[in-house]
C-alpha cells in the first residue's frame, strides 16, 4: 500500500490532466417524495482537475456527491470510475469530506485517522506514517492524542480533511470544505487542495465562496434544481457571457452620481474608491473614460467579463 502513487505514475497522471475524466456522474435523477433532488445531472472530473461544484442551497450538490459513495441510490443514471461501475474497492481510493462533518467525537485524533487510513487499505505502519505527516501539515501534532470533541471547530475541520487525505486518494470529494474556517485556515486548505491537484489528484469540491472558487479552480460546474446548467473552464464561462463590466478605480472617494447621465451603463457596485458598471455591448468607452476622469483621478479603468459570482447569479436566475 506504500507509494501507491509513485513518481512515474504521477508523471503519467500529470500528462493525462484534463484529458480523460475518471469519475463520471451520468444522467443522475433522484426524487425524495415530491422533491426532485437530481434531474438528469451529469458531470465529470479528470485527474489533476480541480472542479468547483457550485449551486444555490438545495440545488442537489450534496445529493450528487453522496451518490458517489452509494449513500444515495439514484433512480436513474449511473456513477462510473473509468467507465466501470463504482465498487467499494475504488471508493476506498476516494477521499470524502461530508457536508456535515463526520468523526467519532470521543476517539483520539491520531487513533481515529489511523483507523480511517487502515479502513481505506493502508497497513498499520503506512497509516501511522501518513497520519503523522498530515498532523504535521495541519499543525495538529500536539493535539494528536486529544479527543476530537476537545478540539476547536477549525481544528476538527482540519482533522476531517486529514481523514479524507490520509490514504493518498485518487479523487477528493469535499462538500463545503471551507465552511466555518478562519481566513488563515482557508489559505492553508486552499494550498493543500492545489498541491493535491498538482500531484494529479482529481478534486471535486462544493462551495458558496465563489471568489475563492474563482481563484482556486480552473473548472466549475453549476447546478440548479438538480441539473448541471453550466460547466467548463472558468475563463471560458466568463468570456462566453455577453455581459461586460467596467471597473473603475480612483485614487480617492468618488460620487457615483455622474453615472446616471451615462448612456449604456448601469451601476452595479460602488465603494469609496471603486465603481463597477454593467455596460452595453455598443457603449462608448471613450466617453465613459472621459466622464470618469472629470469625476476624479482614475488609477485603473478595466473592461472585463463578468466575475464567476455574476456568471453564477445569472445562470441560476437570481
Amino acid at each position: 500500500m506504500k507509494n501507491r502513487t509513485g513518481p512515474l505514475t504521477l508523471a503519467i497522471i500529470r500528462g493525462m490532466c484534463h484529458h480523460e475524466p475518471v469519475l463520471r456522474l451520468d444522467g443522475l435523477s433522484k426524487r425524495f417524495g415530491d422533491v426532485i433532488a437530481l434531474a438528469d445531472c451529469s458531470l465529470s472530473v479528470a485527474p489533476g482537475q480541480m472542479l468547483g461544484f457550485l449551486g444555490p442551497n438545495g440545488a442537489g450538490k450534496t445529493t450528487a456527491m453522496r451518490t458517489i459513495f452509494g449513500l444515495v441510490r439514484p433512480d436513474r443514471g449511473r456513477v462510473t470510475w473509468e467507465d466501470s461501475e463504482l465498487t467499494t474497492s475504488v471508493r476506498r481510493r476516494i477521499g470524502y469530506m461530508p457536508e456535515e462533518r463526520g468523526l467519532y467525537p470521543k476517539m483520539r485524533v491520531r487513533k481515529q485517522l489511523v483507523y480511517f487510513g487502515r479502513l481505506h487499505g493502508l497497513d498499520l505502519p503506512s497509516a501511522e506514517q501518513a497520519v503523522d505527516r498530515w498532523l504535521e501539515v495541519f499543525d495538529l501534532t500536539d493535539r494528536a492524542n486529544a479527543k476530537v470533541v476537545e478540539l476547536s471547530h477549525g481544528n476538527q475541520q482540519r482533522v476531517q480533511l486529514a481523514a479524507s487525505l490520509v490514504h493518498d486518494p485518487m479523487l477528493l470529494v469535499l462538500d463545503e470544505p471551507f465552511a466555518g474556517l478562519d481566513p488563515i485556515a482557508v489559505v492553508t486548505m486552499a494550498r493543500i487542495l492545489r498541491e493535491q491537484a498538482e500531484r494529479g489528484i482529481a478534486v471535486l469540491f462544493s462551495s458558496h465562496q465563489l471568489d475563492l472558487v474563482e481563484d482556486l479552480c480552473d473548472d466549475v460546474a453549476i447546478i440548479n434544481a438538480g441539473q448541471v446548467i453550466l460547466s467548463g473552464r472558468v475563463a471560458q464561462l466568463r468570456s462566453a457571457s455577453p455581459k461586460r463590466y467596467l471597473e473603475i478605480a480612483t485614487s480617492g472617494p468618488v460620487d457615483p452620481s455622474w453615472i446616471d447621465q451615462l448612456p449604456g451603463a448601469s451601476l452595479v457596485e460602488s465603494r469609496d474608491d471603486r465603481i463597477r458598471l454593467l455596460v452595453d455591448e455598443d457603449a462608448n468607452l471613450e466617453m465613459m473614460a472621459s466622464a470618469a476622469t472629470q469625476a476624479g483621478e482614475i488609477s485603473s479603468f478595466t473592461l472585463e467579463p463578468p466575475r464567476l459570482s455574476e456568471v453564477f447569479t445569472s445562470a441560476v436566475g437570481r
Binding site: F69, L71, L103, L119
Partner: protein, 395 residues
C-alpha cells in the same frame, strides 16, 4: 480478504469503544452474581453438619466408628475421644463433654446430650458389628455378613411432576434473567452504536470504505462477543461458587444448562441484535432512537415476564409451551423450560430449528433495512421505506 480485514478493523474499533461500559457492567453484574450466589449458599440448608463428640472405651472395633460416620453423613459427623476407664468416660458424658459412649464391641452409654440421630447411628453401628461377629462365628464370609447388614431392598420415590428441586428453579430463574439482561443490554448497545455513527455522520465516511452489510456485521459480532464473554464469565462464576461450596446441591445437569443458555443467547442475540441494528439505522439521533428501540425492548420484556411467570408458577402451561416456540420469546423461555426439565427433546429440536431459520431471516431482513436506513441522515426513516430502498446482503 480485504473485506474480512475491514470487518475485523471495524470490530476492533467497536470493541475498543465499548471496552469501558463492558468492563463496568461486567464488574457490576459479576459482583451481583457473586453476592447472590454466596447469599444462596449461606441461606441453603446444605451445610448444617452437626459434629458429635463420641467417647470410646476399651477399644471398640474400627468398623464401628466407620459405620457411625457413614450413617451420620451428610448431616453429621463424629469426633472421637478415647478414655482409659469407663468411670472417666461416664464423667465426661455427664458433663456433656461427649455425647455418647461406645464401650468395647457390645455396650453403648447415652448421656444428657445424646440426640436421637446420634443414638440411632451408634446403636445401628454396634448392632452391625455384632452381626459381623456372629456371622464370622457361623463361618460366613465378610461379603455374606455385609449382605445380612445391607439386605438388597429396592427403594424409590414418586415425586409430583410439577415439583422440581430448588436448584432447578434457581437455575431456570437465572437463565431467564440472564437472557433478558444480555439480549436487552447488548441489543440496545448495537442500536445506539448504529444511531451514534449515524448522528455523527461518521457513517458517511465509513461507507466509502466498508460495505454497509459488513459494518452492521462488525457491530453485531463485536458486541455479541462481549455479551458471550460476559455470559460465560457469569456462568463460570456461578457454577464455581456453587461447586466450591458443599452446602449447595448443584444438579448434575447444571453444566448442560449453562451450555443451553449460551446456545440460546447466541441465537436470541443474532435475532434481536440484527433487529436492533435495523431499528437504530432508522433513527437520525438519540431522541428518535428511543421511539424505535423502545418497542423492541418491550418485546424482549414480554419474554422476560412470561419466563418469570413460568419459573415462579412452577407449571408448564400451554401458553408457555406455545410461546417458547416463537422466536421473539423462545430465547427467554426455552432455557428455563429445559432447566425445569419440562421441555421434551423434540420440543427443543423444533424450537432450535425455528429459531435458527428465524435468526437467518432476521439477519437478512435487518441487513436490508440497515442499508436503506443508515445512509438517510436527515430524518427518521420508516421501516417499509428503508426496506424498499435497501439492498440484499447478496448484492
Amino acid at each position: 480478504m480485504r473485506e474480512r480485514t475491514t470487518i475485523v478493523l471495524a470490530m476492533g474499533r467497536e470493541l475498543n469503544a465499548w471496552k469501558k461500559p463492558f468492563l463496568i457492567s461486567s464488574a457490576v453484574v459479576l459482583a451481583v452474581v457473586a453476592i447472590g450466589m454466596t447469599a444462596l449458599v449461606l441461606s441453603s440448608g446444605g451445610d448444617q453438619t452437626v459434629t458429635y463428640q463420641l467417647g470410646l472405651v476399651d477399644d471398640p472395633p474400627a468398623a464401628v466408628e466407620r459405620d457411625i460416620q457413614e450413617l451420620l453423613h451428610p448431616d453429621g459427623r463424629v469426633m472421637t475421644e478415647r478414655f482409659p476407664s469407663l468411670t472417666e468416660a461416664e464423667a465426661a458424658l455427664a458433663n456433656r463433654e461427649v455425647d455418647a459412649l461406645v464401650v468395647g464391641d457390645d455396650e453403648v452409654v447415652w448421656g444428657p446430650s445424646t440426640s436421637n440421630g446420634l443414638a440411632n447411628a451408634v446403636w445401628l453401628a454396634v448392632s452391625n458389628q455384632q452381626v459381623r461377629d456372629t456371622a464370622a462365628g457361623l463361618g460366613l464370609t465378610a461379603e455374606e455378613a455385609n449382605r445380612l447388614i445391607h439386605p438388597e431392598i429396592e427403594s424409590r420415590a414418586v415425586e409430583s411432576p410439577e415439583a422440581g428441586s430448588v436448584a432447578d428453579e434457581v437455575l431456570a430463574a437465572i437463565s431467564v434473567i440472564l437472557m433478558f439482561m444480555a439480549i436487552l443490554a447488548y441489543g440496545q448497545w448495537i442500536g445506539y452504536a448504529v444511531v451514534e455513527e449515524k448522528a455523527n455522520r461518521v457513517v458517511e465516511l465509513l461507507l466509502g470504505a466498508i460495505k454497509p452489510h459488513h459494518l452492521m456485521l462488525a457491530k453485531v459480532l463485536s458486541i455479541g462477543l462481549l455479551g458471550l464473554v460476559q455470559i460465560v464469565a457469569i456462568g463460570t462464576l456461578a457454577l464455581t461458587i456453587g461447586l466450591a461450596s458443599d452446602r449447595l446441591e448443584i444438579p448434575a445437569a447444571s453444566a448442560s444448562i449453562v451450555v443451553w443458555v449460551i446456545v440460546w443467547f447466541l441465537l436470541g442475540y443474532a435475532f434481536y441484535g440484527s433487529l436492533y441494528a435495523a431499528g437504530g439505522s432508522l433513527a437520525s439521533n438519540n431522541q428518535e432512537a428511543g421511539s424505535v428501540i423502545g418497542p423492541m425492548s418491550i418485546l424482549v420484556g414480554i419474554g422476560y415476564v412470561l419466563g418469570l411467570i413460568t419459573i415462579s408458577g412452577g407449571v408448564d402451561t400451554l401458553l408457555i409451551r406455545v410461546t417458547s416456540f416463537i422466536p421473539f420469546w423462545a430465547p427467554m423461555l426455552m432455557p428455563g423450560r429445559i432447566a425445569r426439565g419440562w421441555a421434551e427433546n423434540w420440543e427443543i429440536a423444533v424450537a432450535l430449528g425455528v429459531m435458527i431459520v428465524a435468526g437467518l431471516t432476521m439477519i437478512r431482513l435487518a441487513g436490508r433495512i440497515y442499508v436503506g436506513g443508515v445512509a438517510r441522515a436527515t430524518s427518521k426513516v420508516g421501516w417499509r421505506e428503508a426496506f424498499r430502498t435497501g439492498t440484499d446482503l447478496t448484492e
